[in-house]
């Protein structure tokens, strides 16, 4: 039976993704570790500050998990929210689970506590790098309605692997922000098709920004997580040089190109016009060959 990942809450995702009943939460709602900053701005706090963290099992293997609740403050990272993520990553460095799964759904820094959120995101980034250097892979799963933007879009690409659904979105600035800054001619945020082919899961997969493209189905996310659990991305100098070559080459190929269909064509995607209509399974083989990753 198909359980829509995007329609689930953060907690429902964890319950369905992990082995049944295996999720053990740290700083659970009844501990009331909430934001001390929201009340003065007239915003109710949430008992978990919008992120559930803990340990669980994935096909019997020990994993640490965090799931952001996109419905609360757009999944925005505040002081407590960020600290829970940092704590989880540091604990993983100490206890060395098989991997850390980050179920990201976030607009980035929570504006109501923006400074704390920005510093918090940078602490998450450093903790991710520390953990990877210690040999514990970090997987980021993206498939919530709010996408993965801003600082969390950066965090996603600091991780080892990204798994995204065709309804997931991964980018930096939201279309509304770009439209507000440079006008509707630059980015029409109401043009859904344009938004999707610029930031959506299929585009991210075709470019190799996501390692796996899955249907909007919790079981598909679970399977992809298992597929990638044992495949960390190297982070030594050679790997960084390879990444640089890839990004520089892509930038060269995309010179003067503002639309995804044109970019797909230039990158050698067969029949780029058909991409938006294709099922996930039909789209996967269209990805141009990427440099081999171990």
């Amino acid at each position: 039976m198909n359980l829509s990942y995007s329609e689930c809450s953060a907690r429902e995702r964890l319950a369905a993704l992990l082995d049944a009943g295996s999720f053990h939460e740290w700083l659970p709602p009844q501990a009331r570790i909430t934001s001390p900053h929201l009340a003065q701005l007239g915003v109710p706090s949430s008992f978990d500050d919008g992120v559930a963290i803990g340990r669980g099992r994935l096909a019997g293997q020990a994993v640490f998990v965090a799931a952001q609740e996109g419905a609360f403050m757009g999944g925005g990272v505040g002081e407590v929210h960020g600290a829970k993520l940092v704590g989880l990553l540091r604990r993983a460095q100490r206890e060395r689970p098989r991997a850390v799964l980050l179920l990201a759904e976030s607009g980035g820094v929570r504006l109501h506590e923006a400074n704390a959120g920005l510093i918090g995101v940078s602490e998450v980034m450093r903790a991710v790098f520390d953990l990877r250097a210690a040999g514990v892979p970090v997987l980021v799963l993206i498939g919530g309605a709010n996408g993965c933007f801003g600082g969390m879009g950066l965090v996603a690409r600091c991780a080892d692997r990204v798994i995204i659904s065709d309804v997931g979105r991964l980018a930096m600035s939201g279309p509304e922000v770009i439209e507000a800054s440079h006008g509707v001619e630059e980015f029409d945020a109401r043009d859904r098709a344009l938004v999707w082919r610029t930031t959506g899961g299929k585009h991210r997969y075709l470019l190799g920004d996501a390692d796996a493209l899955v249907d909007d189905d919790v079981a598909a996310f679970r399977q992809a997580s298992l597929d990638w659990l044992h495949r960390p991305r190297p982070m030594d100098l050679a790997a960084l040089e390879a990444e640089h070559t890839l990004l520089a080459e892509r930038q060269r190929q995309a010179q003067g190109c503002d639309d995804a269909r044109e970019l797909w064509q230039r990158l050698g995607v067969p029949e780029p016009a058909s991409v938006p209509d294709l099922e996930v399974a039909a789209l996967r083989p269209l990805r141009p060959a990427l440099p081999e990753t171990p």
Binding site: L27, I33, P36, Q40, L41, G42, E79, V80, G82, A83, K84, V86, G87, L88, R90, R91, R94, V109, L111, E113, A114, N115, A116, L118, I119, S122, E123, R126, F129, D130, G150, G151, G153, L154, A156, R157, C158, A171, M172, S173, I178, S181, E186, T198, T199, D209, M235, D236, L237, L240, E241, E243, H244, L247, Q251, A254, C257, D258, D259, A260
Partner: protein, 233 residues
């Protein structure tokens, strides 16, 4: 402060740094030792191209001069707000830059950052906030968003935000707030060369910013929450 004025104050008039577009790079001599400098100027927006140019400079440093200290000079209005950059995956380019800076630290390069003019949101995450420690000039401006814009987005009256920002550093723009929260290690005032010398000796190699924020009472929750997660049954 103009970057050239800053470079002169730190390294003397023959500082050897050059600007090419929005990027400054070069090797300065500090206390008789070579020091790599990479930075941006004129409140540069960080797009894919500028992120990659900075990453290239960090990669070259690691390959050609292992262990040489690196000074990152920060002046950015934030990430480039263009569809072209989003299409290309600006978040990946910036994460790559962050990974390069992180790798430099990991390989033993001392990495010091200085916000000498402006540091905004995304553009700041990939460089200054990835250093061993990030410092700022007292006149620098650091923020995610100005209060009027924040008032529009959050639908909270600007006067209210203004009033609250007097007592809580958590959201209002300002370099002092970032110091109080531990995001900025300290301010460089007066003798800038002495401040750099001090930073090279004392900047922490581990991320201690949450503890610093608690100690300075600007960010009281982060450190205890991290500890609670580490201790949770």
């Amino acid at each position: 402060m103009h970057w050239n004025e800053l470079a002169t104050a730190l390294f003397g008039p023959d500082h050897g740094l050059q600007a090419e577009g929005a990027l400054i790079t070069g090797t300065a001599i500090f206390d008789g030792q070579p020091m790599a400098v990479i930075g941006t100027i004129d409140h540069a927006p960080i797009g894919v191209e500028l992120a990659l140019r900075q990453a290239r400079a960090v990669l070259d440093l690691m390959a050609q001069h292992p262990g040489r200290p690196l000074l990152l000079l920060v002046d950015t209005q934030g990430q480039q707000l263009r569809r072209h950059d989003e299409l290309l995956g600006i978040n990946r380019a910036m994460a790559h830059l962050a990974a390069c800076v992180d790798q430099a630290r990991r390989r033993g390069h001392r990495v010091i950052a200085l916000v000498y003019d402006q540091a905004l949101s995304g553009g700041f995450l990939a460089t200054g906030l990835m250093a061993d420690a990030c410092y700022a000039l007292p006149a620098a401006e650091i923020r995610v968003m100005r209060l009027p814009a924040m008032a529009r987005v959050t639908k909270i009256a600007e006067e209210r935000l203004q009033a609250l920002s007097q007592s809580n550093p958590v959201f209002a723009p300002g370099v002092a707030n970032y110091v109080a929260m531990g995001g900025i290690q300290g301010l460089w005032d007066g003798d800038l060369a002495a401040a750099l010398r001090q930073a090279l000796q004392t900047a922490p190699r581990e991320d201690q910013r949450a503890a610093l924020g608690a100690e300075r009472a600007g960010r009281r929750c982060a450190a205890p929450v991290i500890q609670q997660v580490l201790d949770a049954a």
